[in-house]
């Protein structure tokens, strides 16, 4: 694989966002007072989008940052950019804003030149004021304030050279943060005149049937404005929030449900995924291709397998498992809606207000032109969580209570039970290594459910809104379809970035899902890269090679090699390898523990180890290598993260601190998935209903970080919001192996599992 090279002679291609929204005025507006409004169709999810967009705008237009206002996704105005997903915002919207502002500046200078009779080349812009020969002549506001550009973006103007950058590439403050640190500034804090508070009573499990309820009794309770019922969709509406919570409790006690044992045994997901596979595809260069797949079922079994086919040759096989995982947003979802009898306005923290609007129109059989959906930042969602459903709940209740803004807040249990999870996955890997440690072939089989359960307009018969499953007539979920495009859902990052010979990659789509599923940060990359990077480590150990050397042997792209070497060097990889060679004791229970730099553990009850992992997200986006030092408590099996090194190449860096925040945050979230997370369920219902039954990583478990950014000025921006999601789990599992000799292939790496594996099988080598 080769890296992208800069093409200085070519015109930069227009981003797809610009092709879809070519009208300059859609994006940019200059006020009479010199304030510049830049609009994006993407949403601020806590990733720092507003700041990055403002910096690009200020940079290209030569404006002070304070004079730039950013407006985010709103179906009534600004560009339509679908969803804020897939680490695409900087590439789509960031690139578009750069081009829009470069062309606007060019046009303004052209106008100024004509007006002043001075050649354009003799004009300079300082903070939106236009100078010639050191004298201020005019300004953006004077030229364009309050007027429209009335032109299309052509792509014929070159944006600024990175050498001239003032904001881009430097650390600076997040422009949206002060409000959020001093007062209530999120969707959850919006308060409209006359706003009513609603709570929804959901069934206790997916297929529970409503037996009886007493809406009238709750309706007559003090403070209750309305109880909405449509089939099994039940909601209480009060003018006071605490009252709504009490009314919800009252309604719950008056409502009975019929439940059945319909879920598969929680501990048999690996078999479930194999047995329920509905379609298989070969994956070629990252893309799934339809057609006959012979030998679609890999050999079952969770234990590694090796056989000697000819002298020195060995075939290795291993199975890796990932359970269902929650987005587990820190806040249950909120939706606010107002129906004025003609128009429906919705405020939501959805990742895709444009699609949400279409899905609402479809479900309510309402003309889309009557619906406006405005994105307002809420708690981080990390994919498709309950946000869209809460918005739709609010719509249904608003239709029943016209002319009053309705605020629906889910309870914690609603979010945990009803949010669509990240699907479970099973990855089987097989490879043959020759006597010289060369990988001769590679087979990857991933079995998983769909990663696409978002609400979509589906022609009225089906719906992905929970409420539609319970209303009359009930609409079942839209049947999930396998997606084939490059690195879509299940096969995201299934094709390794290594130049391996004779690679066979298969995606096995499991249509039937016991739990509700949809998109979560990284989609299939988390499970696939966990498997690939663990297996590379296993192959290296089985063939007596340094895991770093084995990876480098198959990495042709110099940028990939650079991040891997950088992370390894900063983590002390080669020193650690040398010290291990000098200590011939078996790694499993070596009495002399190796200690991480900065580690305080020096006793024999703790085993320390270093693990390495690498991926390039979707094989075309940010490069990330992760090195992790862990301590494993031998008595308890508890894994403690000590020190983490991340090295990343995200192309040209817009906001280094924002990038670091994404990379480290992604690591911490993925480490939490790796060490702790698993949606628990019995045969009837999900049992992970709160933070005790669904624990996540806490402050006292956070390691030291060193994050290294390899900037590429002038190169394309590479989305980085999900870059560390893939490499994290294997880096940790490889470190645990290095420390203890125990190879963990099933997530989460809980203390019980660590102890079980430490006591049993140890190593392939």
């Amino acid at each position: 694989m080769t890296s992208a090279k800069p093409r200085p002679s070519a015109r930069p291609p227009l981003s797809s966002s610009l092709e879809r929204n070519p009208d300059l005025d859609t994006w940019l507006e200059i006020d009479r007072d010199g304030t510049v409004t830049i609009r994006t169709g993407k949403a601020e999810l806590g990733q720092g989008l507003c700041t990055a967009i403002a910096r690009i705008c200020a940079e290209e237009l030569d404006l002070p940052l304070e004079r730039v206002r950013v407006e985010t996704a709103d179906t009534a105005r600004g560009p339509m950019e679908f969803m804020t997903v897939g680490s695409m915002s900087m590439e789509d919207s960031g690139s578009a804003v750069r081009q829009v502002c470069a062309e606007a500046r060019h046009h303004l200078l052209e106008q100024a030149a004509k007006l002043l009779g001075i050649p354009m080349g003799a004009l300079r812009v300082v903070d939106g004021e236009i100078f010639a020969a050191g004298v201020r002549r005019t300004s953006y506001a004077e030229l364009m304030g309050g007027r429209r550009f009335e032109r299309r973006v052509t792509g014929e103007v070159w944006p600024k050279s990175p050498a001239a950058y003032r904001y881009v590439g430097r650390k600076g403050p997040r422009i949206d943060l002060e409000a959020k640190l001093t007062r209530g500034a999120l969707l959850h804090d919006l308060c409209f005149e006359g706003m009513l508070h609603a709570r929804v009573l959901r069934p206790p499990s997916y297929l529970a049937r409503l037996v009886a309820t007493d809406v009238e009794r709750v309706r007559s309770s003090p403070g209750v404005v309305e109880v909405v019922r449509d089939g099994a969709f039940l909601a209480v509406v009060c003018d006071d929030e605490a009252c709504a919570v009490r009314a919800l409790e009252e309604l719950a006690t008056l409502t009975s449900w019929d439940e059945h044992e319909r879920l598969p045994p929680e501990d048999q997901l690996a078999t479930f995924l194999l047995e329920h596979t509905s379609q298989s595809f070969r994956v070629v260069e990252g893309t799934a291709v339809a057609g006959e797949v012979l030998d679609a079922t890999p050999s079952a079994g969770g234990t590694p397998h090796q056989s000697t086919e000819s002298p020195g040759q060995r075939e290795l096989r291993a199975t890796y498992l990932k359970p269902y995982i929650m987005h587990a947003s820190i806040s249950p979802s909120v939706g606010i809606a107002l129906w004025d009898g003609e128009r429906l306005t919705v405020w939501s923290h959805s990742q895709g207000v444009a699609i949400l609007r279409l899905a609402i129109a479809d479900s309510l059989a309402l003309d889309r032109s009557l619906i406006r959906v405005v994105h307002v930042p809420g708690a981080g969602s990390y994919g498709h969580n309950g946000a869209d459903d809460a918005a739709f709940d609010a719509c249904l209740i608003a239709l029943a209570c016209p002319n009053q803004p309705i605020r629906v807040q889910w309870m914690r249990e609603d979010e945990n039970l009803w949010e669509p999870y990240s699907p479970a996955a099973r990855v089987d890997l097989t490879a043959r290594v020759d006597a010289h440690g060369r990988i001769e072939n590679w087979r990857h089989d991933v079995h998983s459910n769909s990663h696409m359960g978002r609400p979509l307009p589906a022609g009225g018969k089906h719906s992905n809104f929970i409420a539609d499953w319970h209303r009359v007539p009930a609409k079942p979920p839209i049947p999930a379809q396998p997606r084939l495009e490059a690195h879509a859902g299940i096969h995201r990052n299934a094709d390794p970035y290594y130049s391996l010979p004779d690679r066979q990659i298969f995606k096995h789509f499991v249509g039937e899902t016991p739990l509700r599923v949809s998109s979560t940060r990284g989609l299939g990359a988390f499970a696939n890269v966990f498997a690939i990077e663990s297996f590379m480590d296993e192959l290296a150990h089985a063939s007596g090679q340094d895991p770093l050397e084995l990876r480098l042997r198959y990495l042709d792209d110099p940028r990939a090699r650079a991040v891997l070497l950088d992370a390894a060097q900063r983590a002390g990889w080669s020193e650690h390898r040398s010290s291990k060679r000098a200590t011939p004791a078996p790694p499993a229970l070596a009495e002399v523990s190796r200690t991480a730099p900065g580690s305080t553990a020096h006793d024999a009850t703790v085993a320390s180890g270093l693990g390495l992992s690498f991926a390039r997200y979707k094989n075309v986006k940010c490069y990330a290598a992760v090195a992790v030092w862990v301590d494993v408590q031998k008595a308890t099996g508890r894994i403690q993260l000590r020190r983490v090194v991340i090295s990343a190449d995200a192309g040209q860096i817009i906001d280094p601190d924002g990038l670091t925040n994404q990379l480290e945050g992604g690591f911490i979230q993925a480490a939490s998935w790796t060490l702790k997370e698993k949606v628990r369920f019995d045969r009837v219902a999900v049992r992970s209903r709160d933070w005790e039954s669904y624990p996540i990583l806490r402050f006292d478990e956070i390691p030291e970080f060193e994050t290294s950014l390899l900037d590429q000025p002038g190169m394309p921006i590479l989305g980085a919001g999900e870059a560390t999601q893939g490499p994290t789990p294997a880096a940790i599992a490889n470190a645990v192996f290095d420390a203890t000799g125990a190879r963990l292939r099933e997530l989460p790496l809980s203390p019980e599992r660590v102890l079980a594996v430490m006591g049993g099988e140890r190593d392939l080598a």
């Binding site: 640190l181 007062r183 006071d240 820190i330 914690r412 402050f699």
Partner: protein
């Protein structure tokens, strides 16, 4: 009968029933919406406010249990620090470190950190980690939040030192 409540230095008389969790009174009756609802189960820390100087989870504290104790929310932190620029040193440090992603959890963390620094002006990293452990952050902003608390502690000590050396 209304319940007397002292919040951010002002006395209020709440009309809510005495069993109402303090969080709803603060957010909906007094319009102080920095403290957040996260779980309603005292498990996540998003709703923390200072009650009598202690960091308390307001989702589980009935209005009637507040009593005479002074309540301070994030909106009241600048005044608590006598900050002329409208920001408590912790808020300023959080801004300087960009110590958040979505920031939903941060108000609760600011409260816990305020309580910590009130009794320990030089906490080490492990002490800060323990003090913040009841607070969940899902975005993974932990490293910069820890740095921000350390930075604020340094700044508070510096200003104390200056105050002490100024006659």
């Amino acid at each position: 009968m209304p319940t007397k409540l002292c919040v951010n230095g002002t006395t209020h008389y709440s009309e809510s029933s005495p069993s109402t969790p303090l969080l709803y009174v603060l957010r909906n009756e007094l319009g102080l919406r920095a403290a957040k609802f996260g779980c309603g189960l005292e498990q996540c820390g998003a709703c923390a406010v200072l009650v009598g100087g202690e960091s308390i989870l307001s989702c589980g504290l009935p209005l009637s249990a507040v009593g005479e104790r002074e309540v301070v929310t994030v909106e009241g932190l600048p005044a608590l620090a006598g900050a002329a620029d409208g920001l408590h040193p912790l808020q300023r440090a959080f801004l300087e470190e960009n110590a958040a992603q979505c920031a939903y959890c941060v108000p609760g963390i600011l409260i816990a950190a305020t309580a910590l620094l009130a009794w320990n002006d030089a906490p080490d990293r492990a002490t800060i980690q323990r003090a913040l452990a009841p607070h969940l952050c899902r975005c993974g902003a932990h490293p910069r939040i820890l740095r921000a608390v350390e930075r604020a502690a340094d700044q508070l000590r510096d200003s104390d030192d200056k105050r002490q050396t100024t006659p």
